[in-house]
């Protein structure tokens, strides 16, 4: 039992070391990757623009639920005017980055992992190697950068749409005073709250993109291997996002 636990720990540490080495290699290639701006722009479109619909819809619904729940709760204390503050802080600091990252891992992360895995399975990465083209530089770095850039933008859009959703329920339907809703939000939400959201979404962007490209690049070149890589991308991303969420929240308190 202890031996198994020990082996499992060692295996996890070796895996973590491998991910860190992969990240360092990506970082070393970043300057060259940034020079291929056309490739990066294509990946920002793939990871970002193609995720917009799901992010905007989810943001709207999450904001609406927040509006309903927040109104119901605040009404008990007679302070429903604080709904704008509650919704904005909840979205900007917490729900925006976290839910966006989870959705990002589910849509863009799985797409990245399966694409790279299939490229591995169909020898496309080996073919690049044989053409003296480094697949890390040509394929992985633009995808990683695309994810890292797209994620904070998506989180910002999610938060904005979410606030609109909360306003829709709170002000338009529950008849909370619009002036109070917006003015209390403006007075209470500070730069540090927004910074926390930005830091979280940037770190989640790096984590999700790294996990996706790592799992895809090192996928076993079989149908089963690609499937496993895709599943691992979602599961690992979800755990890492929530773990980092706690750490960053604690750091900002």
């Amino acid at each position: 039992m202890i031996e198994e636990l020990w082996e499992s720990t060692i295996e996890s540490l070796v895996g973590l070391g491998s991910v860190v080495r992969f990240l360092l290699r990506l970082v070393a290639e970043l300057p060259r990757g940034l020079m291929r701006i056309d490739l990066v722009a294509q990946q920002i479109y793939n990871a970002g623009a193609l995720s917009l619909v799901i992010i905007m819809l989810s943001g709207l619904f999450v904001g609406m639920v927040l509006g309903l729940q927040g109104f119901e709760l605040l009404q008990r204390f007679g302070s429903e005017e604080a709904l704008g503050t509650a919704a904005a802080i909840g979205l900007v600091k917490e729900l925006g980055p976290v839910v966006t990252a989870l959705l990002f891992a589910g849509r863009a992360g799985t797409a990245l992992a399966s694409e790279l895995g299939l490229m591995r399975a169909t020898d496309q990465l080996s073919a690049m190697e044989m053409m003296a083209v480094d697949p890390i530089r040509r394929v992985v770095v633009p995808r990683f950068l695309g994810g890292v850039i797209a994620m904070p933008l998506l989180a910002a859009i999610f938060s904005v749409i979410g606030i609109y959703g909360a306003q829709l329920i709170g002000v338009q339907i529950m008849r909370v005073d619009a002036g109070s809703f917006w003015s209390q939000m403006r007075a209470s939400v500070g730069l540090s709250d927004i910074n926390e959201g930005i830091v979280k979404s940037c770190i989640f962007g790096v984590a999700c993109s790294l996990i996706a490209v790592y799992e895809g690049y090192y996928a076993t070149p079989t149908a089963e291997g690609v499937g496993r890589a895709t599943t691992r991308t979602v599961v690992t991303s979800a755990v890492v996002i929530l773990f980092f969420d706690y750490l960053i929240t604690a750091a900002f308190l």
């Binding site: 044989m130 053409m131 003296a132 480094d134």
Partner: protein
Amino acid sequence: MLRVIGARKPTPLNQTASIIEIRNVGYAISGRPVFAGLDMDFPRGRVTAVMGPSGTGKTTLLRLITGQALADSGSIVVAGQELCGIGRADLYLLRRRMGMLFQNGALLTDLSVFENVAFPLREHTDLPERLIRQLVLTKLQAVGLRGAAELMPSELSGGMSRRVALARAIVMDPEILIYDEPFVGLDPISLGVILRLIRHLNDALGITSIVVSHDVQEISTVADAVFLLSGGKVAAKGTPQELRSYPSEIVRQFIGGLADGPVPFHFPAPDYFGELLARGEEP
């Protein structure tokens, strides 16, 4: 008639007769030896076939020659460059002088046929677009697919994919062209086309071709020399005609396509009747 435009004779970097020299190479995968004391020479400017039963390490040999895997011992010299201990930059420089046709073509699925062939040129040169277009169309014409330039890989048949991959492999005018199982899954017409292209491109471009295959009849029609691998070593070498009369059981079994012989029909297993009559225990 097939015509290759823009053919050139590359200036040999070294004047030895062999462009690839393999000496006493040992290689193991997960502790299981694949090669032990392997010696081979691939003559410059010829079509050399590497044949052998499945699992004898033909594809592994290609991985060693192309630097995708490093030999555990011995020496592999490709175009004057020792591969053991070679750095990444030198390996990439060497690979620019090699082309490889993968078993499934390995075309980049997000690029059109034209862009697939143009890919190495765009990555390694600063040629103007007009010249890239001319070079790509020249190579596509050589494989008979100039008319398919705008198609996507998903719109191609297996044979067409391999011809596009072949155009891509020769677009940088390599000295060595490597084919990994180029005939697998092809209909007779596509197979005939690929066979003809192997011979024609080799002669017209003055390159060295290495073809890994176990299609005995087909490869015999184009190969100048054949290596037959078995048990991690070269079991036979010579011209296709010489191999037909080679005094070896394994060669006879392979060339004749015999089901049983030195390569047994049965996978090693316990005694048949003993296992059938055994009671109570799961196999």
